[in-house]
Symmetry: C2
Subunit: 373 residues, 2 copies
């Protein structure tokens, strides 16, 4: 096969690795792994939806390329799978297959599977090799890159996990063809996020070319590659999130609160949709604080609406709790020191920054307004 | 207080930390933590035995020094506590107390509490600060230093965990006065291990001075410090156990198999006792393979017997399984490649080395002999 493949390197010294982006990668996974991780055996972790479409292609691809598949763990799809009890199942299956530290866990799925399988690979024998095969757009442009892994707690999302970098990321752009359109759109929110953080030209490019990205082909590959470059840059600067990496949380403070407020019910809201609304709110909130122009907030809202993403609280089906309760969800896993909060705000498109002193009273007032209209 | 305190540094670059060794450290813990981790809040994790003797001293010491104790988790004592379900309890208590990444988990206890609490601190928010307050001799000279944390699986000991270095180790030599003598002896086995690995003069010093080490005072502090120096050296050379660090497993391949064979029943065998027998067996096995002199094996056996440690299979109360079954326990979490195993063997006192090609048939024949006599 002579498919076009783009390579993006994540520059992390002795933990550096490549992201390969292009069509047909899972069918060739065996060759690729044999060349890069000679002698490795693998356990594949996936979910039921993804397994139905892509498990056999990957398994055949691995075995044809000389990589032994020692175990396959197929879990229910959905956010609830990121739990202690499924973590334990995956860990046990890896140990039962007698994999060693230089064998690999292969995560075939979206961010849920990547986070869970990555965490498992980070704690079996205190860390074994790990390969991401992201199958959702969100996972290809975000969760599969950068080594954050984890599960949820009853006390909040992603509160339990480790930093554990993969050895390789295979982002097969072809597998996205089976992704439900709603999930594709949700992933698109994270893609656009990089433009809003610090790549204004990329955001402008997306405003013009988003239809081609949705259609597939070279524009899609190029958009994924640009997003991966953006994420790799931030991660290389701040692997363990002690500073800059927090910029990637643009839209996520509001987004996580909305996910909690809808009880992580994916019928009502999936992660990327929460982020879309969260980004729109972060821009609108920045405008309200006179940090950014309302025109920029409107530009973000217009683009999200154009691609079919929810962008305001009223777009969430069903009832939402009141402003106080939403505020509680925002602060539940955060320290509110002397009445001030940390937020990602913006001075305009592509000019996001970390604000450490956002008054709680302003947040509350803004939430009331947003709920009202 | 003007108590003598010895400091040993673990040289791990930006993860470097100090081990303080001496009497009265837990009563002064608050001052020490305030100076080194300003502003930290803490959760104390301990077990019922240790809590009965030392929890109030530590808690008062922390609070008097201005360190807020946000949670205390007291768990049942014993190896079975290193489980997924207790891990989940500890994680939940830390999150319930709303501790952040720069707050600290304080492990007050032996190796069980240190391993479990260390693992929890390594996965809450993908890693928060961690302070070891080891209260058993084994924990002071071994488990609290070097950042290995973890729990057991039904498939073997310590198979699940992370590398997560503490910020500080407070080895209070006074707390050892409440340690049951059997546990003190078990810890002594790990202390003697450093002599057997690569410090023949230390082993000779112990042969002469062990009674003073048991009695307490300066000889005890000096022995603990020398053991910590030995461990810190190995850890600084090979933090993630890709090479030399495996030397620390001297006596542990046989030892772990014996712990498994006795169903981790501490009435029959505690970890350090398994290691004592394992070290004697490793020397005897090395002699059988004509690598070391039988005189050295005899010297090890004589010293272990002198301090009151078990040194041969017959010293374990109750029935043991046969040689084949013991061999299965040895290989259960290992790859037997082409009939060969990795073992820590020796060329004599203080001359241990990693042997990667020990024939399975020799191990089996040796086990039969050892069981017979
Ligand atoms: N680790 C990180 O840095 C990071 C970053 C962002 C998000 N996340 C996490 O990622 C998760 C969200 O990821 P997600 O949106 O991929 O969720 P997901 O894994 O639940 O996937 C979404 C849905 O699409 C299905 N699916 C995935 N690929 C498919 C394909 N090719 N064909 C058909 N169906 C397919 C899945 O079965 C699932 O039903 C959240 O848990 C979030 O916390 C992690
Ligand atoms: N992480 C590592 O590098 C490492 C190294 C060696 C051993 N370990 C682990 O350490 C564990 C064994 O450690 P351990 O021997 O300390 O076991 P432990 O923690 O079970 O302590 C032994 C017993 O002594 C009691 N105890 C501890 N301190 C006491 C005190 N001051 N006064 C009265 N009672 C006290 C405990 O309650 C327990 O009953 C094993 O799980 C082993 O796998 C880990
Ligand atoms: Zn996200
Ligand atoms: Zn040990």
């Amino acid at each position: 096969m002579n498919d076009k493949t783009v390579t993006v390197e994540v520059g992390l010294g002795d933990r550096a690795y490549d992201i390969l982006i292009g069509p047909g990668l899972i069918a060739r996974a065996g060759e690729t792994l044999s060349a890069r991780l000679p002698g490795t055996r693998v356990a594949i972790v996936t979910d039921e939806n993804v397994a139905a479409h892509h498990l056999e292609t990957l398994r055949d691809g691995l075995e044809r390329g000389g990589v032994a598949v020692a175990a396959v763990v197929t879990l229910p799809a959905g956010e609830k799978t990121k739990s202690f009890s499924h973590l334990q199942d995956v860990v046990d299956a890896i140990l039962a297959a007698k994999l060693e530290r230089r064998d690999a866990v292969v995560a075939l799925g979206g961010g849920v599977i990547g986070d869970l399988a990555g965490f498992a690979s980070g704690i079996v024998r205190r860390g074994m090799d790990f390969v991401q095969v992201p199958t959702s757009l969100l996972a290809q442009v975000d969760s599969s890159v950068g080594g954050k892994t984890g599960i949820n707690s009853a006390r909040g999302k992603n509160l339990i996990g480790v930093f554990h970098q993969p050895k390789l990321v295979l982002a097969d752009s072809g597998v996205l063809d089976t992704l439900p359109i709603r999930e594709f759109r949700a992933g698109y929110a994270e893609l656009a996020k990089y433009g809003l953080i610090d790549r204004p030209h990329f955001f402008a490019w997306l405003e013009k070319n988003w239809q081609d990205v949705f259609a597939g082909g070279d524009a899609r590959i190029e958009a994924i590659a640009e997003a991966c470059r953006a994420k790799a840059d931030v991660v290389a600067r701040d692997e363990f999130e002690t500073g800059d990496r927090a910029l990637l949380n643009l839209g996520h403070t509001f987004g996580h609160a909305l996910e909690a407020a809808t009880a992580y019910d994916s019928e009502r809201l999936v992660h990327g949709e929460g982020v879309a609304i969260g980004m729109a709110l972060a821009h609108r909130f920045s405008a309200r604080l006179n940090l950014a122009s309302p025109d920029d907030a409107a530009r973000v809202e217009t683009h999200l609406r154009a691609v079919g993403l929810p962008w305001r609280l009223a777009d969430i089906p069903g009832d939402l709790p009141g402003a106080e309760k939403l505020f509680d969800y925002i602060t539940q896993d955060k320290k509110v020191s002397r009445g001030a909060l940390t937020f990602i705000l913006t001075r305009g498109i592509g000019q996001s920054f970390i604000a450490k002193d956002v008054p709680a009273s302003e947040v509350l007032a803004f939430l009331k307004e947003a709920l009202a209209g």
